[in-house]
């Protein structure tokens, strides 16, 4: 074993790149991770998040840049020399070994004595709440239980870094919530450093200390969940954070942190500018579906309703603006397809981005 202690100060990714033929799967990724952090790599499929994780684990060689664990360069080490724990998307449990043998495999490879191994394995199995299942084969366990075995197997060796590749994507919705809490609990308990890959923004927001948003192999934004939720820096990050309504328009006025936009769909909206925006610029206005409201006599713009669903407290309506843009918004009263309504949003909840297409 090259890396003994679970202790380090920081893990640094420097200009990390990966090319597949002509395709740049990852371009110049720079990231510094401190010990104990829970980092989520978030992005749509094909954004390079799994590539990053596989490069970190040593399962895929980087084609450029380096990885540093404090002063030690590790990107040339083989996976077995890095000693990171990894939880695979399909769990990758050894099907011919009992739960105990699966969990103890990493310890066996480290040449640990049988007695010590047994003690540590029991501890890990208790930690993931699988006591009593130690002698079963993975095939005899449910999906959630298999997931716990995979986590126990990865953490029992006290790795400096735990890598998780969409570990909840094969579970049903209820179990996913349960395991989410479980993963965070184990992370806190161990004081481990975790890098977690997901395409689910809700998962990333609820679990991570910091989120790294990736797109097309490039880091778009790094920040805490609330930073990303409230202040996405780019339009695509905003879209990923749930800003689903997008409307084109032109800036007519700017006063401090407030711009007024004349919408292409008619009417106007006020919002917070993101980036360098001046009067006369072509912009895109974005609002979350939760923040866009049906305002019977307020300010806003006209929209045509296509359908509406009852969501308990409110109705969620779908429709389109006069220029054809799709809309999703809230309403207190039921709406019928074909209704012409006025919609608008609190300016504090509206983000205005420069339109890069122009």
């Amino acid at each position: 074993m090259t890396i003994h202690a679970a202790n380090f100060t920081e893990l640094k990714l420097e200009r990390l790149s990966r090319e597949f033929g002509n395709l740049n799967a990852l371009r110049d990724v720079n990231l510094t991770i401190r010990q104990g952090e829970f980092i989520a790599l978030l992005g749509p499929s094909g954004c390079g998040k799994s590539t990053t994780l596989n490069i970190l684990a040593g399962l895929l060689p980087a084609t450029g840049g380096g990885i540093w664990l404090d002063d030690k360069r590790i990107d040339r080490l083989r996976p077995e020399e890095r000693g990171f724990g990894m939880v695979f998307q399909n769990y990758a449990l050894f099907p011919h070994m009992s739960v105990e043998d699966n969990v103890g495999f990493g310890l066996l490879m480290r040449g640990m004595s049988k007695a010590e191994r047994k003690k540590r394995v029991d501890e890990a199995i208790t930690m993931v709440r699988l006591t009593g299942h130690g002698h079963k084969l993975p095939g005899q366990l449910s999906g959630g239980q298999q997931q716990r075995v995979a986590i126990a197997r990865a953490i029992v060796v006290e790795p400096p870094l735990v890598l998780m590749d969409e570990p909840l994507s094969n579970l049903d919705a209820k179990l996913r919530l349960e395991m989410r809490a479980e993963i965070r609990r184990i992370h806190n308990m161990l004081g481990a450093t975790t890098i977690y890959v997901t395409h689910d923004q809700e998962e990333a927001l609820s679990l991570a200390d910091r989120i790294v948003v990736l797109k097309d192999g490039v880091v778009r934004q790094v920040g805490t969940p609330d930073e990303l939720f409230a202040h996405p820096a780019y339009l695509d990050v905003a879209e990923f954070m749930g800003f689903r309504n997008r409307l084109g328009g032109t800036v007519t006025a700017r006063e401090g942190d407030r711009v007024t936009v004349a919408l292409a769909a008619g009417g106007q909206m006020q919002g917070r500018p993101r980036g360098d925006i001046n009067v006369g610029d072509t912009v895109i206005v974005t609002v979350r579906a939760d923040d866009m409201k049906h305002a019977p006599d307020g300010e806003g713009f006209p929209a045509k309703v296509a359908s509406s669903e009852f969501r308990g407290r409110e109705f969620c309506a779908f429709g389109s603006a006069a220029d054809g843009s799709d809309l999703a918004f809230q309403s207190h009263s039921p709406l019928v397809a074909g209704d012409q309504v006025q919609v608008g949003a609190d300016p504090a909840r509206v983000l205005v981005f420069p339109d890069r297409m122009q």
Binding site: N90, F94, P138, Q146, A154, V157
Partner: protein, 299 residues
């Protein structure tokens, strides 16, 4: 008091059959069933019956004769002594090569090259080896030219000629089967083992081999049965009167030199029993090892 429920007068026969999974489509099985009956079951039973109708003596006279004559029963050991080592060596060679090949891009080209010996057939391969391995063949001449040996190696008309020929003709089959079992292993399992600190030998020993064993047992059975019925190369490349007098030669001589079909059938039956015994032993051993799923979770 209960009155018996009166069933509908009759459910049509076709519906009752359909409930058991038998319908018009089932008829599609008929050609295959006839084929197996006509070309396998009938000849086998006929041979079995024939073997109990010896030219002279009682019902079991052929079998008694076989096991009384070392020239006859010795062929079992001779054949096993060829077929078992060849099959084992083929598997020992196939596993590491398959491990390497499974990551290659040009896999299809390689497999095509490997399939060629199968399509050429044993006779053509034997003819080629007669030239290649002969005293004036390239093999010995190259070794002499390199100064490794001083006189040609005796590789023909003895045990080794048949051994090499069986190895060559059996390898592609063994290899392709091994490769397909190996490709069935989830690559994530090996990756998981690597992240847990297992080097390449440990990954093979703890993960790949245990998961492959069940498949290798089947590969062994099929390769062994092929090697056990060796005939052309034993005649062409071996010493059919002595060291490579395999059991199929004994059957051939009984049938076409002594014209004793009954004896030949008895030898064929003995051949089948020996093969079955080896296969059954292997499958029993296979039952003792893990042979479940070879992927590591819900995919």
């Amino acid at each position: 008091m209960s009155t018996p429920v009166s069933l509908p007068a009759s459910i049509p026969l076709s519906q009752r059959l359909a409930a058991r999974g038998i319908d018009g489509l089932t008829l599609l099985v008929v050609p295959a069933a006839l084929f197996i009956l006509g070309l396998f079951v009938y000849p086998f039973l006929y041979g079995l019956w024939l073997s109990f109708q010896p030219k002279v003596g009682g019902t079991f006279a052929n079998y008694a004769k076989f096991f009384a004559d070392p020239f006859l029963y010795g062929t079992i050991a001779t054949t096993l002594w060829l077929a078992l080592p060849v099959t084992l060596l083929n598997i020992v060679l196939a596993v590491p090569i398959a491990l390497r090949v499974r990551h290659l891009r040009r896999q299809r080209l390689l497999t095509t090259i490997l399939v060629i010996p199968i399509t050429l057939g044993t006779v053509l391969v034997a003819e080629g080896l007669l030239n290649y391995l002969g005293p004036q063949g390239w093999f010995s001449r190259s070794l002499i030219a390199l100064g490794l040996i001083s006189k040609p190696l005796a590789l023909l008309h003895n045990y080794w000629g048949v051994f090499i020929s069986l190895l060559l003709t059996g390898f592609p089959f063994t290899f392709l089967l091994t490769l397909s079992y190996l490709s069935g292993l989830d690559p994530a399992l090996e990756q998981a083992a690597a992240t847990l600190g297992a080097g390449s030998w440990q990954r093979f020993r703890h993960i790949i081999l245990p998961l492959l064993l069940a498949g290798l047992a089947i590969t062994f059975c099929l390769s062994f049965v092929q090697a056990f019925s060796v005939f052309p190369s034993a005649v062409l490349l071996g010493a059919p009167a002595g060291p490579t007098r395999v059991i199929s030669i004994a059957a051939y001589q009984a049938a076409f030199e002594d014209y004793d079909y009954s004896m030949a059938s008895a030898i064929a039956m003995i051949m089948a029993v020996v093969q079955l015994a080896i296969v059954a032993a292997l499958l029993f051993a296979r039952g003792l090892i893990y042979r479940g799923a070879t992927s590591g979770g819900k995919g």
